[in-house]
Symmetry: C2
Subunit: 397 residues, 2 copies
């Protein structure tokens, strides 16, 4: 597998673009992906009970059609909690885009992200849709879906399946309201492999559990999250069958792309100055390992300590003890970077300068060894800074 420079339209048969519409004052805020031919598709949607109108529609179309030929996205207005009118507006968004592109309406997916409760400004949307062109600047798509993100998030990989070179590309947006189990995050993944929608769904479900579902920014989940993967078969490779060697290879590509995007989302969490990676090893089972890791990376006290570059492991052990899991409280090791600070369950003297080097780097790794069984878990998050407060205190007003 090779990571290459590229964009969401790097796989064969895709085009994409973005533009500035009136949804927000600055920045691109409307984007689209268009496929030459309908592709296999799979999606995962927010676990929040309040689901935005465009998600309800997209989920329904994907599940019914199992095919996709275009996706249009706006940022700035979420079309969430907008009542019956919101559903009508999402439907109209889909209909207008389908008419513009001469594609069957049910093959056009819609997504929105931004402020909840604000009605969709339909005249702005209509004008934006009228400007859709095929074969534009695909780099702009990754920009158009952002909200408070500082950077675009893109990952492109290639891999040989026999003689056929398959390309997979992913983009994502994240920032606030990010938590395990999908939350204000959009991610779109394109691929030119030959794989059916059912197999694609298997792969997506397996990979999301060790990637996007393992990041947390602030514990909130949103009403608008979705990950959509589409694969159009333009490579003409032999069809990838569930549980075959090719399937495993395809999953490794997908895991590489989604893990890369997940870490980029965590690193670009609202106000973040550091990426935090927490590994829990030796847990009784993998759900306990994940729960403990998430408790640490989700703790406001741990996050502020890391922002302050303070190796306050007392807050780490408190976050471990706070979980509803079983472990031996007398045999816990904690490492910050490679330096043991607690072992076994007793404080270890450490070199202050050495640990300050780790704390002041852009990526802080925390390892917990529970010496229980052999199950592991890894999650990513970010620190909690003044800027997180600033960004979120002033978001709508």
């Amino acid at each position: 597998m090779e990571e290459i420079n590229g964009n969401i339209a790097s796989p064969l048969g895709f085009s994409a673009d973005g533009l500035h519409a009136g949804f927000k004052r600055k920045k691109l805020n409307f984007g689209w992906i268009v496929l030459e031919v309908p592709a296999s598709v799979a999606g995962i949607f927010t676990t929040n009970k309040i689901i935005a109108a465009p998600l309800v529609l997209t989920k329904q179309c994907i599940n019914k059609e199992n095919k996709i030929q275009a996706i249009v996205v706006n940022s700035g207005v979420a079309n969430s909690c907008t009542g019956e009118q919101g559903h009508k507006d999402a439907f109209r968004m889909q209909q207008l885009a389908a008419d513009k592109l001469h594609i069957k309406q049910q093959l056009v997916e819609v997504a929105s992200t931004g402020v909840i409760g604000k009605p969709m400004p339909m005249s702005i949307l209509e004008e934006a849709i009228s400007k859709i062109v095929v074969n534009g600047n695909a780099d702009d798509f990754a920009k158009a879906i952002l909200t408070t993100d500082k950077d675009t998030k893109t990952c492109v990989v290639t891999e040989h399946f026999n003689r056929d070179l398959v390309t997979m590309a992913g983009v994502a947006k994240g920032s606030g309201m990010i938590h395990p189990n999908m939350a204000t995050m959009l991610s779109f993944i394109t691929c030119d492999a030959n794989i059916n929608s059912k197999t694609l769904k298997h792969a997506l479900n397996e990979v999301v559990d060790v990637t996007f579902n393992q990041i947390t920014i602030d514990g909130d989940t949103s009403t608008n999250d979705m990950v959509v993967i589409m694969s159009n078969g333009c490579t003409n490779n032999k069809e990838i069958i569930h549980n075959s060697d090719d399937y495993e290879k395809f999953k490794r590509m997908l895991e590489h792309v989604m893990k890369d995007l997940a870490k980029k989302i965590a690193k670009d969490g609202e106000g973040a100055t550091k990426l935090i990676e927490v590994s829990v090893e030796g847990a009784r089972n993998s759900s306990a390992a994940k729960m403990i890791a998430k408790s640490i990376v989700g703790s406001s006290l741990v996050k502020t300590a890391i922002f302050g570059e303070d190796p306050n492991w007392g807050r780490i052990i408190a976050a471990v003890g706070h979980t509803d899991t079983h472990f031996n409280i007398d045999n816990i090791d904690i490492y910050i970077g490679h330096i043991p600070v607690l072992k076994p369950s007793s404080p270890i003297d450490y070199d202050n300068e050495e640990i300050q080097d780790i704390m002041s780097s852009g990526e802080v790794k925390i390892q917990i060894h529970l010496h229980n069984r052999d199950c592991n878990g890894k999650v990513w998050g970010c620190d909690l800074s003044y800027d997180y407060v600033k960004i979120n205190a002033l978001y709508t007003t």
Copy 2:
């Protein structure tokens, strides 16, 4: 029932005091309560699996003896995660205080709060204990137990039981690591009523669920929390029997004191500028009501919006939807103060100035109506400010 000015030694038969020792540079940091005669006692301790040494000892003594005659507390060093030495130090703290006061060792309780993982400075502790005097300035006890709290938290009430006037007093410390189910919070409640330890425990357990367990500052729990209530019978009232009218009256006193302290803890949460009160009404059951209310008051996005005085109800509804509960998503009302902003599940236009008045007050009330059944829940929390980050980024270093 009457609320009066007073302190933790206002009930008959109690004395208390505090002093400055070397646990921290500034502020009082060592305090004690001494009883003329042993009293009935009940305690509730942290649910964190990592339990600090003084808590292990105090819990054991209270459960074994069912009596208490003194309690000594230090702030600045938590004596938590301090290995076998920590347990020896807690035992020595109890022993030295008992010797100084000429009280049976098992009737002396110990508590600590502060930095986790730092060994107890025994020479400082020994010197502090040597200075214990009976009949000192009881107001200083409430000061001595504080860590990052800005204000002392005290509540004193009196109530007639037939002709006998019973006095009950409570003090608390809170600030960081506060979450439902007891977390870095200490509270001591004194009373001169005649009630046995078993009945006291019933009352404490019932009342804690609608008071201290309904506050959340940052979702973390600590290794050192405890609430201890002691009642010495000095009033000579007729013994209060479980489930009698007097018991209900006693519980109302306790609820008044503990709710007052809980709200004071929430209002003085680290960096807090506002108290947030969330009421959920019409839920399917009371645990769903509490879970939804806690999800709202625990949401970093809601907390930062309230800090920014921004009526961003989209984040409130997202926090409702984020919970693992059942409700009708099409029939939710949200009020900020008395102003409806969502009803039923659709945005309502509101007067901007009117809502700004509410958002800029020191106490923001949020009400949710689910129109499901008739179960309610109420929780308290605080906003998330720059100062929360500042305080916690710089705590140990």
